[in-house]
Amino acid sequence: MSDTSAARSGFTPAYLDRVGSSFTDFLGTAAPDLLPGRRTLPAVSVAELAPHGTTIVSVTFDGGVLMGGDRRATMGNLISSRDIEKVYAADSWSVIGIAGAAGIAIEMVRLYQVELEHYEKIEGMTMSLDGKANRLAGMIRGNLGAAMQGLAVVPLFAGYDLDAAEGASPGRIFSYDVTGGNYEERGYASVGSGSLFAKNSLKKTWRSGLSADAATRALVEALYDAADDDSATGGPDPVRRLYPIVYRVDAEGAVRLTDDEVAAVAEAIVADRAAAEREG
């Protein structure tokens, strides 16, 4: 009887089943067409047709974690966007940065943000940081088919651990691979085409217990080094006043640094490099 009444505009039975607090699982039963992983895939690679985002860097500091990304998206040999944003706040205590097929990645971030908020509202408490990292792994796993057609999405996830044991660092970073593998990183991490160069840079500049300001500088410098050697990563653009997006997550929650703050750091780095070049 309740099945026939579902045709009217009240809640369908799926809505009233008191099972699960996951938004993704709920969409899977109530509106599966809204999920990114459920679509039929093209038979050939479409990597050249879709914009791809590039380098994301995350760095821990004393009391939290930072994440930043450059502003470039590429489509084959073209620069498809100069001002794309690839780092987002996932909720009040965590951030997510994305490299790979931009369209799918942004849809995934949107779904992930709703997933975390949905859980919070239904359960009345936030998910643990490990739980959040695991949920994201599940979404990446669902995208494996698309990844094989050139639409891979590889995120970087970082957050402030509200449950951190006494003495443990509250800022934590998790990296992923296309199969949904999920690993916690030590100190810093990077994904995307310029990640090799960014990591090499951080190897020299990062040490544990950095202050937030020093870590911000190390992060922006790593993005600068990545842009130096990787054609798909954009450097600071003083002409259009486009600078990397940087989020800081600490005991106060996730905040995006203002453009002026990041611009000051980026300009200081450029000035120091120019001075070093003149002396050398």
Binding site: F11, V19, L27, D130, N134, D163, A168, S169, F174, E184
Partner: protein
Amino acid sequence: MTMPYYASAEQVMRDRSEYARKGISRGRSVAVLTYADGVLFIAENPSSTLHKVSELYDRIGFAAVGRYSEFESLRVAGIRLADVRGYSYNRRDVTGRVIANAYAQTLGEVFTQQMKPFEVELCVAEVGDTPESDQLYRLTFDGSIVDEPDFVVMGGQADAVTANLRQHFTHGLGLAEALRVGVQALSAVSPATAANGGGHEQLPAEQIEVAVLDRRRPKRAFRRVVGAALAALLADQPAPEEAAPAEVATGHAPSAPAPGTPPGLGDPAAVDTAGGAEQASVQPGTQDGVGGGTDGDSTTRDQ
């Protein structure tokens, strides 16, 4: 299996109404009031975890009285509807009216088509940019929906509380003042207060659940008022603006970073190694009897 016998539709509806009304009036009251900066929810509720008041969406809140299991599933359905709409359209496209309509349809269907009606009464509240655009929808067990102007009182001795509020409520109260008026009205009928044989002068902080939809908050307007903030408001002291939320109680066991491992597997608090080789050899045969019959099935949905 039940034998159908004749009863007039009028009689059936009357019996169901009476049944639902009795169930609802057995509980404690909830008051939802508008105030200068939004909407204030006050529920007489000794439990700090089984909530009667909840967030539905950015600007929309929910309050309920009656049978917990029934309004809890309606609350979850409302959150699901809001999130599905917000995800497939835009966050701005989620309105209190849409959710209130879905509740009205569902309650109406259950009332007319099932043996036992829902013993619940709900309020869906939405804050706008100005006090004039705030909305309070009251939904009753039979699916009626009313758009109330100033305040809504549901459950318990709702009529007595409403009469009390009519005398004391005015437009544009501050938060502390609105809370005082609301708590005073609930206290007048509560069995926990001295006037009715209880031990308290007025309902104390641990007996009430308070939350606000604050239009000044940027995105999610819903905020619970608990602990020191609630005590200060009740004592009519200037409310300490929330300090840095450094010490947030999350209810999780402590965790430690474990680089190189998938999250959770390196947790020192977890002795379970997720089926690692050593563990399996120590404890053979644990596969049996794990997880048997714990899944709910869909029949539990019906009464």
